[in-house]
């Protein structure tokens, strides 16, 4: 057994152990911290599987933004936990156990009965890369060969934000999400929030641009942009915008809308919905991605700041 496979076995064991610990640990806060570490380690596994695109997304979403979301939820639940010591009755616990065992058994079955040479379309993806003149196969699949899925995924993001907003109380409808954060203007958090965003924005644009030929793309770049915006919000340098604003809603629909327009253009001028003319494939994909990175950054940021809490009117 060589060093690489020893490392992989250790990594898998640590991830399994951490997963079990995250479920079993009593405090919500510890579970949230455990989940962040879990996300980062799973990202390492994706790197070992040569799926760097997935690793970037996993680290940004599960380790980064998801972690912030869970920590925020844990902070809000802290008071509730002290007051209510609710223990589910025996029937609920037995049914939960039965459901978990059945799910685990189904997963084990699915893994064990996989065909030995898994059916794959990867060679065809590589063989048809000429059609888009992008060399990153993941971007090719996401933006061209299965562009429909990516477009629908952006619509799902939009539905998610509507779901979060609908939790707003009537008085705050269309208002500003989250509390107004304040921090010591000479403190380290404000210093970081002034220093980091220029570098973060440059890195996000780089990741979007390099996504054509290397791991990266609009989702990973958008997650970094959202993180930079959230940093400025948490340091109190800027306030969250009222969600009723017209410009904000335009940004939120820009990505899926442009995708839809290009798709219909394919139907009108070309052969099928979302069929790009070969000569214009790359410019079209870049234009869609530029619109999408803004939509993704705004959506992820707003998902994390939560439902509107403060009325738009002063």
């Amino acid at each position: 057994m060589n060093i690489a496979s020893t490392f992989e076995l250790m990594l898998a064991a640590v991830v399994l152990g951490l997963g079990i610990w995250t479920i079993a640990v009593h405090e919500t806060y510890s579970a949230a911290v455990g989940f962040v570490a879990y996300g980062l380690l799973v990202a390492l596994i994706w790197v070992r599987l040569d799926a760097v695109d997935v690793a970037l997304t996993e680290a940004a979403i599960s380790g980064g933004l998801g972690g912030v979301l869970l920590l925020g939820a844990a902070a809000r639940l802290r008071h509730a936990e002290l007051m209510v010591a609710e223990v589910p009755d025996r029937l609920t616990r037995v049914s939960a156990a039965v459901l978990s065992v059945m799910t685990a058994a189904a997963l084990v079955g699915a893994v064990l009965w996989l065909p030995d040479s898994a059916p794959t379309l990867a060679p065809e993806v590589v063989a048809n890369a000429w059609a888009t003149s992008l060399t990153n196969p993941v971007t090719n699949v996401l933006m061209a060969f299965r562009a429909m899925d990516t477009m629908l995924e952006k619509v799902v993001l939009l539905l998610a934000i509507i779901g979060v907003w609908s939790l707003a109380p009537d008085t705050a409808w269309g208002g500003r999400p989250g509390p107004r954060h304040r921090a010591d203007p000479n403190g380290v958090l404000v210093f970081l929030a002034r220093l980091l965003p220029p570098a973060g924005i440059a890195i996000a644009v780089y990741i979007l641009w390099t996504g054509a030929n290397h791991p990266g793309g609009a989702f990973q770049g958008g997650a970094i942009l959202a993180a930079m915006w959230l940093l400025a919000v948490m340091a109190g340098l800027t306030d969250t915008p009222a969600v009723g604003r017209r410009w904000l809603r335009l940004i939120l629909v820009a990505g899926p809308a442009l995708f839809l327009v290009v798709g219909l253009g394919g139907l009108w001028f070309g052969t099928a919905f979302l069929a790009y003319p070969t000569a214009q494939a790359k410019p079209l994909i870049v234009v869609i991605e530029v619109a999408m990175i803004q939509t993704i950054a705004a959506t992820l940021g707003l998902l994390l700041t939560g439902a509107p809490e403060r009325s738009a009117k002063p």
């Binding site: 380290v188 958090l189 210093f191 970081l192 980091l196």
Partner: protein, 97 residues
């Protein structure tokens, strides 16, 4: 030439791994938040710095080397800020208790 490069990598990455090990032991063994933070930031700053230093001779181009260095600088910045924030929170929790 390549032997010298490999030697630098071997020595620096091993030294970095040693700092990470020492920092982890400190994190597990030290008695309170502030000393644990002390151990952790040493591991982050010096350990990662030495690992990056060791990887520099293996970088394919100047661009890759600069990317490695900026990874280290960003980790330094994040580590320093976060440890300050945690230390402050720990101090406030102690004075209010």
């Amino acid at each position: 030439m390549s032997l010298a490069r490999d030697m630098i990598t071997l020595v620096a990455v091993s030294a970095g791994a040693f700092f990470f090990l020492a920092g982890t032991i400190g994190l597990l063994r030290f008695p309170d938040t502030l000393t644990r933070l002390h151990a952790l930031t040493k591991a982050d700053n010096l350990g990662l710095g030495l690992v990056v230093l060791g990887l520099l001779p293996q970088a394919a181009s100047v661009r890759d080397a600069l990317k490695l260095i900026s990874v280290w600088l960003l980790a330094l910045l994040a580590g320093a800020t976060v440890s300050q924030l945690i230390a402050r929170a720990a101090r406030e929790a102690r004075t209010t208790r």
